[in-house]
């Protein structure tokens, strides 16, 4: 005994530890043959192992191989639609700045961080952006934990779901397996918004001015047709700025192998992802750059069997990323300006060779790209885990001591060279003609100055340390199998901007029992505390229980030739969710802010006020989850899993403003009073034919989650539909569009006729939007905004996957769809849909505007150069069905064995995001074609294994 402890402590002190017990616990568990069928895995790979042993839980495991099907710069974007219950909301398409947002079973809290899926890598929690830069070739499997039995062990941090990444580890093999992969992809834009040419823009602008009762601005619009008149330009800004294609490529080399004593997996990966900017270095490579992202990944995973009882694992990931972007703009600014700058605004370059500009459009994109410098962002990522397992069979057979330690951190810094040079506006007169000076030369107005700055600094950093240790017990007595684990864990997390570290301390335990592989019983719980809460309220207890019945092992089914496997599952339990945006609310602090200037020297004195009234009972949000599941396999080929869930989130933080009178002057603290209900299901079905020469498969998955706010502090409203209670989170509400006001609605002096609804938002004119007066008071106001459509986050996610393998050929296609999604062009595509206002450009969207002549066919209100608060209300005029289907990946490969020394050589061609089907006219539904565009890619790849 003594000896063992000495050994253990030595190990602990030398830091040779890691890997969570959850990860460790599971691997030794033999997977029953029937269950093995349930795994989703590819033909090439059969090593992906489920990481959890709770066989009653709702979890889904995806093989890392599936992530190699998409050619994108961000690992997280390969998850699109592949895991039922995980919603991946696409971010920008910009290289290096393209993180999506993840949701488990939709959302169940109105606090954003309350829906944040927690990410684990090899048994330890990491930040989302530690994952985004991993290579798909180093991922063994990804598991989503969905229900209470799966999540309650994570306690306070499990409330929004856990996504568990496991990297490839070494295997016992007498030969070193060396694999080289190369992929080269050509990307092209899926969709860009369509804007007007200079002639159409100027004619419509004149029309808008006339509608406003103002004189026209462009007396001679024909001049803009010439295309070569620098005083009346016609510039296609997208063409000037963007290339047709960009490239994305990655290459990696890995070594995998080992013996009984030592096993290893080592990978080196290089990725280079360039953007769309055209001729960025035309002047000098120091003045401009294309968007560019490149990174180098290094991974070393080692498992060592040090003695009969002691084994040690070490995983090290090191990644450096470099992102170059032009210093003259962010991608958002650029694409906003490409969209809003009319073709007629100014020439790229003036006749005298200087840069063009105008006072209204003080943004020459080409100038900024080629001349304004470079922003270089550099990221360093380091994640190290070490873990040990000491078998304690000496004490009792099946007992083991496990421990681990993890450091995970990231640093992002930047280096910037920023320049500016003046541009020159051609001075024009009221007739849109250049003003000439006495010598007949064009008069230019200088805009901007010469400047030059170089600076560097830190963008962000974070650092997370975890230490854990625990006991594990796995043993079978006759028909009874026992698995038990007890884990103590401490974690702290710091990052820039965080004054106090986030700290957690937890003890979690789990116990599984099965009898004859037929009757399954799971209990899991954690006792988890956070520094954010008051002493006495610091720890929460999160229990769960699960029951399972494998019917197919019962005598009445075991001999069935039809049903190979049938399991019923039911779990119930609680998980918690703390939120780093709301901490220490049990204390009342005085707060700074506001102040006063006194004295003849204008001395400013800072102010202090009382902080929010303390919330003595401050706690976390709690989610209670009921999950029912069925797993079935019939005819050895058709497998299905169905999970039904009903969850209730309670204790959602909100300010109870609705109840407290304003005269108190209180600053109210957030209380744990809100509640949201969330219900839904996930279904996955797979048909796999592996026995014949033509191996093929078809898999379908569907996930549905619908939430409802059941309790929320809200001011009393006259109508039920004005509350957010009883509706979805982020439910759209708007006015019901009722056609346009027509001339017949007004009297001769332009006053609305009696009986016609008026607007509280603006004085309406013919051609403005008319809305349904829901409350019948004759005036359109916020009381007339009714629930419409769904929310922006889809309720339904669908996945279709099919493929075959025949002789050397393999084929795979994956189609993703989302449904029950509503988007608002007012919120997300304002510039696109609002010509002339704020000097916006005009797009095809507003082509068919209201005029007295088009009164009956118009699809857009009267054109105006002025903003119109009436037309800018949220309404179904702006809402669109946001459903879409995307062919996320399609791949055809051929594997041949030409040379004896090579195990195999595979060449393939892959398409990523090639086709989209949606219901929105002229825009791509996922991001509404706004910002840096989403890309499709065609990729050639080669894999050599020896």
């Amino acid at each position: 005994m003594k000896k063992i402890y000495t050994k253990i402590i030595t190990c602990a002190l030398t830091g040779l530890m890691s890997l969570s017990t959850q990860a460790q616990k599971t691997e030794p568990v033999a997977i029953q043959p029937q269950e093995r069928l349930m795994k989703v895995s590819t033909y090439e790979d059969s090593t992906s192992v489920s990481v959890i042993k709770h066989r009653t839980g709702a979890i889904f495991t995806l093989s890392g191989k599936e992530l190699q099907r998409m050619m994108v710069g961000n690992l997280l974007n390969t998850l699109q639609g592949r895991i039922p219950g995980l919603t991946v909301v696409t971010g920008s398409g910009e290289p290096g700045y393209d993180n999506p947002t993840l949701y488990l079973r939709g959302q169940s809290s109105w606090n954003i961080a309350g829906n944040r899926v927690v990410i684990y890598l090899d048994g330890f929690e990491v930040d989302l952006n530690a994952i985004s830069s991993l290579s798909p070739y180093e991922i063994e499997s990804i598991t989503l934990f969905k229900d209470a039995v799966a999540l309650s062990q994570f306690g306070l941090q499990g409330g929004a779901g856990v996504l568990w990444f496991k990297t490839v580890s070494g295997n016992v093999n007498d030969k070193i397996k060396i694999t080289a992969n190369a992929r080269y992809g050509i990307q092209s834009v899926i969709d860009l918004p369509q804007v007007m040419n200079a002639y159409d823009y100027t004619t419509h602008y004149n029309m808008a001015l006339q509608n406003d009762g103002l004189p026209v601005k462009y007396p001679n619009t024909e001049a803009y047709k010439a295309n070569n008149d620098p005083f009346h330009p016609n510039v296609d800004w997208y063409k000037e700025m963007l290339k047709n294609t960009s490239t994305i490529q990655d290459y990696n080399l890995s070594f995998r192998g080992g013996g009984e004593r030592a096993r290893y997996f080592v990978l080196m990966n290089y990725t280079d992802f360039t953007g769309l900017y055209n001729n960025a270095t035309a002047i000098d490579k120091d003045f401009g750059t294309n968007a560019r992202y490149n990174k180098i990944n290094l991974r070393g995973n080692v498992d060592l069997q040090l003695s009969k009882n002691l084994s040690v694992t070490a995983n090290i990931t090191a990644i450096t990323e470099d992102k170059n972007t032009p210093a003259g703009f962010t991608a958002t600014q650029l694409f906003d300006n490409l969209l809003r700058t009319p073709a007629s605004a100014f020439p790229v370059v003036n006749p005298n060779g200087s840069w063009g500009i105008s006072s209204a459009y003080n943004f020459n994109p080409v100038q900024r790209l080629q001349r304004f410098g470079i922003w270089n962002s550099h990221t360093r990522n380091l994640q190290t885990n070490m873990a040990f397992t000491e078998k304690l069979d000496v004490i009792t057979s099946g007992l083991a001591l496990k421990g681990g330690i993890s450091f995970s951190n990231q640093y992002v810094g930047f280096y910037q060279k920023q320049f500016s040079v003046p541009a020159y506006e051609i001075n024009k007169d009221a007739n849109d003609q250049p003003v000439l000076d006495g010598d007949g030369n064009v008069v230019y107005i200088q805009r901007g100055n010469i400047s030059e700055t170089i600076n560097e600094g830190e963008t962000s950093h974070w650092n997370r340390n975890t230490f854990q240790i625990g006991l594990e017990y796995n043993r079978t007595f006759g028909k009874s199998t026992y698995n038990a684990g007890l884990l103590a864990k401490r974690q702290n997390y710091s990052k820039n901007g965080l004054v106090y570290q986030l700290r957690h301390q937890a003890l979690s335990g789990s116990f599984s029992y099965d009898y004859d592989n037929t009757y399954l019983f799971d209990v899991a719980a954690s006792y988890n505390g956070s520094t954010d809460f008051a002493p006495g309220n610091r720890y929460g207890f999160f229990p769960s229980v699960g029951l399972g019945w494998v019917l197919s092992n019962e005598s009445f089914l075991s001999s069935s030739n039809t049903v190979d496997h049938l399991k019923l599952r039911a779990t119930w339990g609680k998980v918690g969710n703390d939120n780093e945006a709301y901490r220490f609310l049990y204390q009342q602090w005085a707060a700074g802010g506001g102040g006063w200037t006194v004295g003849s020297d204008n001395i400013f004195r800072g102010g202090r006020r009382e902080g929010a009234v303390s919330n003595a009972a401050f706690g976390w949000e709690t989610k209670t989850i009921l999950n029912l599941g069925i797993d079935i396999t019939v005819l050895k080929k058709l497998k299905g899993t169905v999970d039904l869930f009903s969850e209730k989130r309670t204790g959602i933080l909100e300010r109870p403003d609705a109840l407290v009178p304003g005269y108190t002057g209180f600053l109210l603290q957030f209380l744990n009073t809100g509640e949201v209900q969330n219900k839904g299901f996930e279904i996955s079905l797979a048909y796999e034919e592996n026995e014949k020469a033509f191996r093929h498969y078809l898999r379908v998955s569907a996930a549905f989650a619908r939430n409802k706010i059941t309790k929320r502090s809200e001011a009393i409203q006259p109508y039920d539909y004005l509350y957010s209670r009883n509706f979805r989170l982020d439910q759209f509400k708007g006015l019901a569009f009722d056609g346009f006001y027509q001339e017949s609605d007004f009297d001769a002096t332009g006053i609305l006729l009696p009986g016609t609804v008026s607007s509280s938002y603006a004085t309406v004119k013919p051609g403005d939007m008319k809305f349904k007066d829901q409350d019948g008071n004759g005036v359109i106001n916020d009381m007339d905004k009714i629930p419409m459509g769904f929310a922006k986050l889809p309720e339904i996610t669908l996945g279709f996957n099919l493929g075959f393998r025949y002789k050397g050929f393999d084929f795979d296609a994956f189609l993703q769809g989302v449904m029950n999604r509503t988007v608002s062009l007012l919120d997300d595509a304002y510039i696109y849909t609002h010509p002339f206002v704020n000097n916006n450009n005009m797009t095809v969207f507003s082509q068919n505007s209201w005029t007295p002549q088009t009164a009956n066919t118009a699809t857009y209100p009267r054109l105006s150069t002025l903003s119109n608060a009436n037309n800018d209300q949220q309404s179904d005029f702006w809402l669109r069905n946001g459903n879409f289907f995307k062919l996320r990946s399609i791949e055809l490969g051929y594997t041949f064995s030409l040379i004896k020394e090579l195990d195999d050589v595979r060449v393939f061609v892959n398409g990523t995001n090639l086709f989209t089907w949606d219901k929105i006219e002229d825009l791509e539904a996922e991001r509404l074609s706004m910002g840096y565009p989403l890309m499709r890619a065609v990729t050639l790849g080669l894999k050599v294994k020896l």
Binding site: K428, W596, V598, R608, E610
Partner: protein, 627 residues
């Protein structure tokens, strides 16, 4: 139990040092509570500074960067709508002017949206924030251990004044409001409904009287900006003037005009006094006289150096006329209390943007910025320099020449910049002849004619509080919460009302103000004639200092004056005989302004009404009539 088990395992298995019980303890530091603040004088100053920040503001808009001058609600200002709604909308100005104000879009300035914390009750809630802070200071200041009683009394006086000032702010918008004179506690039920106009006025007056006893007469220059005894007298005077005015002290013959802003039953006590009493004018007169009489002891007097007119094109203090100097010369003797909030501090980040943007004028920013268009309805309130009334012709050929030739009240030229005027602020490019005109005859649009709504040619831009002296610095501006001229005019107004006509003393005080401005004396007027004269004088003298809105309300004139078509002057470039640029001009429509009678009292925000504490707890929810 489980906690100790957890610890035991860690203790056992790892090492004794790393398992401290305090792993989850929040580290020390950072927490400053109300107790620590009121422990020392130095700390308490922070709370006092916050109290000032919340409470002392005059009519200066605060908070978001999008708020325009308070005059946006009146006939004194037109900001292009919807072209500049981003600058208009902060206080729902455009909605108000179109007659569409509603409970959730009222025009209570409150404190704007961009603040360091949330508030209950919309804009109204911000007033109570200030009141709460004043009450906290008042209650806790005795806890300070290192200050003497005189200092504590002084602070209490300041707190009483602040409490009174924010109650007055609420009163001037809503009528009777809940009176809160202690920091309320969250324990137990609290229920404070609306008080009658009488109670609110009495409370404010009472607090002012108490503050007068506690506050010092004068302060050292290092404390400039702090409340003095004279400021408390000034607040009392203004409140009593309002209380005596027809909106609250309604003579029978004016009741009909207000009928749709009244309930016609007992609830009206939150809107006005039950019975008209002329004696309220006596109280108002006495209170104004008290300000005048105590001014000298506080070092306060009318700023009159005998220089009525500003020198054309000047950019120095010395070149300014006395009227213009009153808001340009820092800490000049006419100022009783200023809101230093916008002065050279760091409270708003770039503090001076308050002047540069909130009250932005086109000339102030030179190119960027929103024009503060003066409607000609307001322009015509200025008399000619000889004291006769002025009516603008329909058009003219040369605006800058015409404007000078109108020979108006010198205060007009010190308040408004116009197309073709030579403007000079020595810094940067804000220098030259103002080009507001639209292009024509081969001339391009004037550089300052461009706007978010296109080129407009609007020719008059109010530039009170726009920097042009002192190298274009904004530092010398501080919003005058009270300046002595107001009380000269209040006194004259109240005397005329109380005595049913002007006396020698009445004339003296109006003419002191007119003399300083370079205008001839008023004389020989009857009651009504003097009433018209003093109301007009007040409008001109205090123009763009925030008074117009409440003056029109309390005189019960808003429904007459503000249901109107606002018009302006627009200029167009024309080639003169010698080929030079001439600014021809004409009258152009701005907008039709609507003022329903129910506007006399602002509606409470629905979320507060729905909490059902404002009214009688039964049939009446406490909302003002008509809403």
């Amino acid at each position: 139990m489980i906690n100790s088990l957890l610890c035991a395992i860690l203790l056992l298995l790892i090492s004794t040092t790393s398992c401290t019980k305090n792993f989850l303890e929040k580290p020390k530091g950072g927490a400053v509570t109300v107790d620590t603040i009121f422990h020392t004088k130095n700390q308490a100053q922070y709370a006092i500074a916050r109290m000032y920040g919340w409470c002392v503001r005059g009519y200066l808009p605060q908070g978001s960067t999008d708020l325009p001058r308070p005059e946006i609600l009146t006939d004194a200002l037109y900001i292009i709508s919807p072209g500049y709604d981003w600058a208009n909308a902060g206080i729902n100005g455009p909605i108000y002017k179109r007659g569409n104000m509603g409970p959730n879009s009222n025009v209570d300035y409150g404190w704007g949206a961009t603040t360091d914390e949330s508030v209950t009750g919309g804009a109204m809630g911000w007033h109570y924030k200030g009141i709460r802070q004043a009450n906290i200071v008042f209650r806790n200041i005795d806890m300070v251990v290192d200050a003497d009683q005189d200092w504590k009394n002084d602070v209490k006086g300041q707190a009483l004044f602040c409490r009174a000032l924010q109650h007055y702010e609420l009163f001037r918008y809503y009528g009777g409001i809940p009176i809160v004179s202690v920091p309320l506690s969250g324990e137990g039920e609290i229920n404070v409904g609306r008080s009658s106009v009488q109670s609110v006025v009495d409370s404010i007056v009472d607090w002012c009287d108490k503050a007068v006893d506690l506050l010092p007469e004068t302060r050292p220059s290092s404390d400039y900006g702090r409340i003095t005894r004279l400021a408390a007298l000034a607040l009392k005077s203004r409140v009593l003037l309002y209380a005596a005015s027809p909106l609250y002290n309604t003579p029978d013959h004016m009741k009909a005009a207000l009928s749709s802003a009244r309930f016609g039953d007992a609830r009206d006590t939150v809107l006005c006094y039950p019975v008209y009493s002329k004696d309220r004018w006596k109280l108002a007169a006495d209170a104004a006289k008290a300000v005048i009489d105590n001014a000298a002891a506080a070092g306060v007097a009318i700023y009159n150096t005998g220089k009525a007119e500003t020198e054309p094109g000047t950019d120095t203090y010395a070149g300014l006329g006395d009227y213009e100097a009153v808001w340009n010369v820092y800490a000049n003797k006419e100022l009783i209390l200023v809101s230093t909030k916008n002065q050279n501090g760091s409270d708003w980040g770039a503090n001076l943007t308050a002047w540069g943007k909130f009250l932005s004028s086109k000339v102030g920013e030179w190119e960027w910025g929103v024009k503060n268009n003066m409607p000609i309805e307001f322009m015509q309130l200025y008399e000619k320099k000889d004291g006769t009334r002025f009516t603008l012709p329909a058009s003219g050929a040369d605006l800058p020449v015409d404007i000078r030739n109108f020979n108006l009240d010198p205060r007009f030229y010190q308040t408004v910049a116009y197309d073709g005027m030579f403007f000079r602020a020595a810094s940067g490019a804000k220098y030259g002849t103002i080009p507001f005109y639209k292009g024509g005859d081969g001339f391009a649009d004037g550089a300052l004619s461009s706007s978010d709504a296109g080129s407009d040619g609007y020719a008059l831009d109010v530039y009170k509080f726009v920097a042009r002296v002192d190298n274009g610095s904004w530092n010398h501006f501080a919003w005058p919460v009270f300046r002595l001229a107001e009380f000269y005019l209040s006194y004259a107004e109240a005397l005329n009302e109380f005595h049913d006509g002007p006396s020698g003393e009445t004339y003296f005080y109006i003419n002191e103000i007119r003399k300083r401005a370079g205008m001839p004396n008023k004389s020989g007027l009857d009651y009504a004639g003097f009433q018209a004269a003093i109301q007009n004088e007040r409008t001109i003298e205090l123009a763009y200092e925030g008074h117009r809105y409440n003056d029109l309300l309390r005189w019960v004139k808003a429904h007459q004056v503000l249901n109107t078509n606002l018009r302006g002057i627009a200029t167009t470039a024309r080639r003169g005989g010698d080929g030079s640029l001439k600014r021809s001009w004409e009258i152009v429509p701005f907008m039709t302004q609507v003022f329903p009678v129910r506007y006399y009292y602002l509606p409470f925000i629905t979320s507060e009404v729905s909490k059902n504490y404002l009214g009688d707890g039964a049939a009446w929810d406490g909302q003002n009539p008509g809403w």
